[in-house]
Symmetry: C2
Subunit: 287 residues, 2 copies
């Protein structure tokens, strides 16, 4: 039986996007063992009802907790927005960390003007979870949320460094850069786990006066702080392991995931599993 | 009780993409009444298992046939590839037309060199259904299938006429244009219902020597021929009606769908329904 500090951290996302959070965790917490579960059979979550996403998140959490984890990271903006409270209640005392609160907190901490721009998928932007999280920290903050779904396609195609990424960013963002300084946002939150892969293009389009807040690295920092506070950080002279698990399409997961993870991975690195508690994914078995 | 010719044509897709087929039907068969069902609750189909897609297609077909249709159009490449045979068997004698066979037949008919390029989503390209359909018509044809998923995002964002569409097409397709004439494809099939919205950019990138085959308009021609052959075409001095039905997210369907349909539509134009025969969409009710 392993003690708490020796147990892995569980990370859960609807697909490959959360691998940017895994990557940030690897950089900041290289001693930690990590298990990543991507629910690729049911991606995307953004267009599903909150009830469905809560159920999917519960299945993923059960699958991960059954394997023994010391902390759960919800590395998916949609699931963080609609399922975090339920997961915290159901999994207590297991610490559960989402991607929205750390990004919102970092933005508020770094912003002089408290004018925030949230870049997200259409679904996340429409839901307004970042606005709520920022306002709960600073009631007078101004928050604009912009749906930029094309960045997801650019990231998944591996074109983050291509001039097309620059052109897409320019089209979405040039109007913010050209505003008078007194109306211009001074922080931009990458409110989608795919967006760190296009952050250079985003930074160029927004200009030098806006701080980019990457919710992947801020989430990793929040995880590090939580482990320290609970005395659960891995210690000693060790290098953490990574276990990658998907619910469908291991080949695509490996190919697209390599860029997100920042290191090569192949189909044989990916385990396939079925996280539905009744033994069949709902969208496979129907009924 | 209406006679066969007075009944509507049913059109089914996983989302909004098939509206390009609806648009082509409206242009070519303006007297026909049309019912379009977009299964937006379960989009995309391309990443789902064949068994799931067959089941979803069966639900959609049941929903449409219960409303009384004289012909079913499967305006979805994934469903056409994996579910058409089953639907034809189960719905006989109702005529069922998919999008792959008409596109393949038109390409073979128009190609002198019989060198075909199929542009599709990653899932469709990997499945090779166009290659199979073309080879069944011409065993010596050369077929290449290219996954171009970014075109879907460009189309859905409404950027088909933007320089970004041109840049994306150039990145995917410039290498075909620059081949020696003897190795260059002479037809390009738009093997995704989204792609008619980026066809100008595709045509520019491929150059003037390649014929673009639009599977939306070729499918509409196949429907017209089938109705004539069965003596089921609407007649008289009338203008057909259009009924739009979605299984989720009417607001997004209306907004994105307007561009696909080529005419404005608003949320109030869209009916919401649940096509699952047990009264709940599988990915909503779980179990």
């Amino acid at each position: 039986m392993s003690s708490g500090a020796d147990m892995p951290i569980g990370i859960f996302d609807s697909g490959v996007g959360g691998l940017t959070v895994l990557h940030a965790l690897r950089e900041q917490l290289p001693k930690e063992d990590l298990i990543y579960l991507g629910d690729t059979a049911r991606v995307p979550y953004g267009t599903k009802s909150p009830e469905s996403v809560q159920r999917y998140a519960a299945h993923a959490a059960v699958w991960l907790t059954e394997r023994g984890i010391k902390l759960l990271v919800v590395a998916c903006n949609t699931a963080s927005a609609v399922a975090l409270d339920v997961l915290r209640r159901d999994l207590a005392p297991l610490p559960v960390i989402g991607v929205i609160e750390p990004g919102a907190a970092a933005a508020v901490a770094h912003s002089a003007a408290q004018r925030h721009l949230v870049l997200a998928t259409e679904g996340t932007a429409a839901r307004g979870a970042y606005t709520e999280a920022i306002r709960s920290l600073n009631k007078s903050a101004t928050v604009e949320e912009l749906g930029c779904s094309m960045f997801v396609a650019v990231a998944e195609e591996g074109w983050g460094g291509d001039p097309i990424a620059t052109a897409v960013a320019e089209k979405y963002l040039a109007s913010y850069r050209s505003r008078p300084a007194s109306e211009r946002p001074d922080t931009a939150i990458l409110g989608c786990t795919h967006f760190p892969l296009v952050s250079d293009a985003i930074a160029t389009a927004l200009g030098p006066d806006i701080t980019i807040v990457d919710s992947a690295s801020t989430t990793a920092k929040a995880v590090a702080a939580e482990l320290d506070a609970r005395n659960l950080a891995a210690s000693g002279d060790r290098t953490g392991s990574v276990r990658l698990v998907a619910t469908d399409s291991a080949a695509r997961f490996a190919r697209v995931g390599s860029a997100f993870l920042g290191e090569p991975c192949t189909e044989s690195d990916i385990e396939l599993t079925d996280i539905h508690p009744l033994g069949g994914a709902a969208d496979r078995t129907g009924a």
